[in-house]
Structure formats: C-alpha cells, structure tokens
Symmetry: C2
C-alpha cells in the first residue's frame, strides 16, 4: 500500500515579484535620503510654490531664516542628486525642480 | 527741492509662502529618511505588489535574499514610522502598507 504523504504546509501563497528592481530601489533610496532633511523639503516647497517654477538662491536664503552656507549646501546636495537644475543669470543663480525625478519618486510610492 | 530716492533693487520678486509648514516638513523628512534604504523600498514594493495587499513576514525573508534579522529590523523601522501596519495570525505576522502615509508623501512631491 502506498503511503499518503501530507503536502508541506505553507503559511501563505508565493509572493509575486515586487514592482521595483534592485537598481530602481537603490536609485530611489538615494533620492529619498536626500529628501530626509526638513530644510530641503521646505526649499523644494518654496521653489514649487512659485508661479515661475524657479527661485533665485538669494531669495531662498531670506525666506527660510537659514544661513547662506546652509542653504547653499542643501541646494548643492539636491542639485548633485539631480533633483534641481540651476541657471546662472548675471550675479544670481536660479533653481528649478527637475519634475521627472519627483514623478519617478511618486511612482515608487504608489 | 526734495531728493529723489532710488528704490532698492531686488534680484527677484518676494517669494510666496512655501507649501509645507515646518512641522509638515519635519514629519515628511522622517519618513523619507526611513525610505532612504533600498531594502525597505523593495519590501514595500513586494507588499504593494500582492493582490491581497498584505504579506507574511516569513515570505518577505525568502523573497529578498536577506537574513531574517535584517528583514525584521527593516519591517520594525517601517512599522514604528507608521508606514506599515501588522497583524498577528497564529504563528505569522502579516504586514500591510498604511496607504494614507504614502498619499501624504506623494503630495509633498507634487
């Protein structure tokens, strides 16, 4: 007589693949780390709130009550991460948000 | 004769208020820091990809090729940050994403 084997018991069905590849997760994590700083979020928020979509660095210093070196540092980090683009016009540098990056991050959070 | 005073020259118009308050920026920054870790994004991605919207912790360990303590640590951090909710059923703990938190973060990135 054949023995009846009990099938193994699983706690749950096998997982589907996740939506993010390892590379996508790594890139998004770098950007989220950059955003993990309140002053940077406020800077982005100020830039986003402008009808022109851009802000002169000098105005950002006045608006947040932070020192100029602190604001410059945060802008540099966000620029180097690809979250901001900048354009020099005469004495001033104007910053603008790279919308495609925010769109990618929003899709990670969907 | 009255002297004609030259008005001060500004480089750009005054900034509108940003969209985020200081408190909102601080709360969002905490969550973004939590997300600044590739393994956590992959865990969220795996949970989000399930038709049931929830995943047993045991399955997450198998899926990502990470050690059980590492996965447990990441799940704990996300649970404590309010990004995940959990429910124990018998031996197993099931995790589910707190959608309202992701909605808030998406709105910060708009």
């Amino acid at each position: 007589m054949k023995s009846l084997k009990t099938p193994p018991i699983f706690c749950c069905p096998p997982l589907l693949a996740g939506r993010l590849t390892e590379t996508e997760a790594a890139s998004a994590a770098v950007l989220f780390r950059v955003l993990g700083e309140p002053a940077r979020l406020q800077l982005l928020s100020l830039i986003a709130a402008q009808p022109s979509g851009e802000v002169c660095a000098c105005e950002l210093v006045e608006s947040l009550g932070l020192s100029q070196p602190t604001v410059s540092h945060h802008l540099k980090v966000m620029y180097e991460a690809g979250l901001l683009q900048k354009e020099r016009r005469g004495t001033w540098i104007y910053y603008r948000i790279v919308q495609s990056q925010l769109v990618s991050l929003r899709s990670v959070l969907t």
